[in-house]
C-alpha cells in the first residue's frame, strides 16, 4: 500500500483549507479503489457509483477527523465500507429481495453486438458468478472478504477499517470462506454452465 505520503498529505491539508483542486487530486487518485469496493459490496454498477460519490462527499466533510498516522486509503475505504454496509442493511429493511438477478454483473461492459472472444466472455461470466456468491454473504463478512482479496489488507488493517478486532475479522473470514466454499460445492455438484465457469 505504498502511498506518496508527502504529496497525499499535502493534498489533504490543502483540501482541509477548502482547496477543491487538491481534493480533486484525491478523488482522481482513489476513485477506482473506492468504486471497486462499492461495486463488490453492492453488486450493482449505478448504486456503486452513487455510493462512491457519497463516500467522497463524506470524506470531504470529515477531513478534520482524518488521523495522519493512519493510511489515508484505509480511512477512505473504511468510510466506503461502512456506507455500503448501511446501504445493504437499509435494502433489507425496505424488504427488497436480494435474490433478484444482477443487472449485468460487470460495470465495464459496453453494449455491443460484436461477438466477444471466448476467454473474455468466460472471465466476465466468472466475475459475475463470484459477485453473485459474494452477494449471499452478510454485509460485514462481505466487507472483510473484499478488503482481504481485492486490497490485500492484513487482518489488522481490515479490523481498523471496519472498527473491530483482529479476532473478529479472522472469524468473519473463516465463516465467509466456509460459506463461499459451500456455495461452490453446490455449483460444482451441478453439471451446468456454472461448473464450466469454475473450471475454465
Amino acid at each position: 500500500m505504498a502511498e506518496p505520503d508527502d504529496v497525499l498529505l499535502g493534498w489533504v491539508n490543502a483540501a482541509r483549507r477548502g482547496d477543491q483542486e487538491a481534493f480533486a487530486e484525491i478523488v482522481y487518485s482513489f476513485t477506482d479503489a473506492v468504486y471497486n469496493l462499492c461495486y463488490r459490496m453492492l453488486g450493482d454498477a449505478p448504486e456503486a457509483e452513487d455510493a462512491t460519490q457519497e463516500t467522497f462527499l463524506r470524506a470531504y466533510n470529515h477531513l478534520e477527523s482524518y488521523d495522519r498516522e493512519r493510511s489515508f486509503k484505509t480511512w477512505l475505504l473504511s468510510i466506503a465500507s461502512n456506507h455500503c454496509i448501511d446501504r445493504i442493511r437499509k435494502r433489507r429493511m425496505a424488504l427488497v429481495s436480494l435474490d433478484e438477478p444482477l443487472p449485468s454483473g460487470n460495470a465495464l461492459e459496453i453494449a455491443s453486438s460484436d461477438p466477444l472472444p471466448e476467454d473474455v466472455l468466460l472471465r466476465r461470466e466468472r466475475s459475475a458468478m463470484i459477485q453473485r456468491m459474494l452477494d449471499e454473504l452478510a454485509p460485514d463478512y462481505r466487507a472483510a472478504v473484499v478488503l482481504r482479496y481485492w486490497y490485500d489488507y492484513s487482518y489488522s488493517e481490515i479490523a481498523a477499517a471496519l472498527n473491530t478486532t483482529e479476532s473478529a475479522i479472522k472469524s468473519r473470514l473463516f465463516r465467509a470462506r466456509q460459506m463461499l466454499a459451500e456455495q461452490y460445492g453446490h455449483i460444482n455438484d451441478q453439471p451446468s454452465e456454472n461448473r464450466r465457469l469454475l473450471e475454465g
Partner: protein
C-alpha cells in the same frame, strides 16, 4: 475453530509454517472429507484472488467534483442566512422531529396491538414515510417559491412554517381519497 480448520485458514493466508503445512497435508491424506473441504476452500481462494478490480467509469470523478461543488455552494448559502433565522429553522426542524417520533412509536404500538401483524405495521409505516416524503417535497417547493423574498422579509419563514400543518392535512386528505375501499392502513 478446531485446529485442523485453523490450519486450513492459515495455509490459505500463507502464514502456516512449513512444518505445520506438512502436518496438515498428512492429515488431509487420511481424511477424505476434510481434503474435499480444503480443496473447495482453495478453489474459492483462487477465484477471489484472481477476480479483477472494477474500474470506475471515466466520468465518475468529474461527477463527484460537480456534486461536491454543489454541496459546498449549498452549505455556503445556508451559512449566509442570518444566524437568528438559521437558529429558528434548526429549532423548527428539531421540534418537528421530536413531535413526529412519539406519533410514529404510538402508531406502531397501536397497529401491532390491534392487528398483531408486522406486515400491517410495515404497510402503515410505508404510507407514513411516503406521506412524509411528499411533505418534504411540498416544503421544498414552498421554500423555493419564497426564497427570493426571504431576505427582504424574514417573517415569511414564520408564515411558511404556519402553512405546513395545512399542507400536511391536504396531503393526508388526498392520501385518504386515493386509498382503496376497505383499506384500513391509509390513515
Amino acid at each position: 475453530m478446531d485446529p485442523l480448520r485453523q490450519q486450513m485458514q492459515e495455509k490459505l493466508d500463507g502464514v502456516l509454517s512449513e512444518e505445520l503445512t506438512q502436518s496438515l497435508l498428512r492429515q488431509l491424506e487420511h481424511d477424505a472429507e476434510a481434503a474435499r473441504e480444503f480443496a473447495r476452500l482453495e478453489t474459492v481462494d483462487n477465484l477471489l484472488s484472481s477476480a479483477p478490480q472494477m474500474r470506475a467509469p471515466q466520468r465518475l470523478a468529474v461527477t463527484i467534483m460537480a456534486r461536491l461543488a454543489q454541496t459546498i455552494e449549498l452549505q455556503a448559502r445556508l451559512q449566509a442566512l442570518p444566524p437568528a433565522l438559521r437558529s429558528q429553522i434548526m429549532q423548527s426542524l428539531s421540534l418537528s422531529m421530536v413531535a413526529a417520533m412519539p406519533m410514529m412509536v404510538g402508531a406502531s404500538w397501536l397497529v401491532l396491538n390491534r392487528e398483531a401483524d408486522a406486515r400491517t405495521l410495515s404497510q402503515v409505516l410505508e404510507r407514513a414515510i411516503a406521506l412524509m416524503l411528499l411533505q418534504v417535497e411540498a416544503q421544498i417547493a414552498l421554500l423555493d417559491a419564497i426564497e427570493p423574498h426571504l431576505r427582504e422579509d424574514p417573517q415569511l419563514a414564520a408564515a411558511c412554517l404556519r402553512l405546513m400543518p395545512l399542507m400536511m392535512e391536504g396531503l393526508l386528505n388526498a392520501f385518504d381519497q386515493n386509498a382503496e375501499p376497505g383499506d384500513h392502513t391509509s390513515s
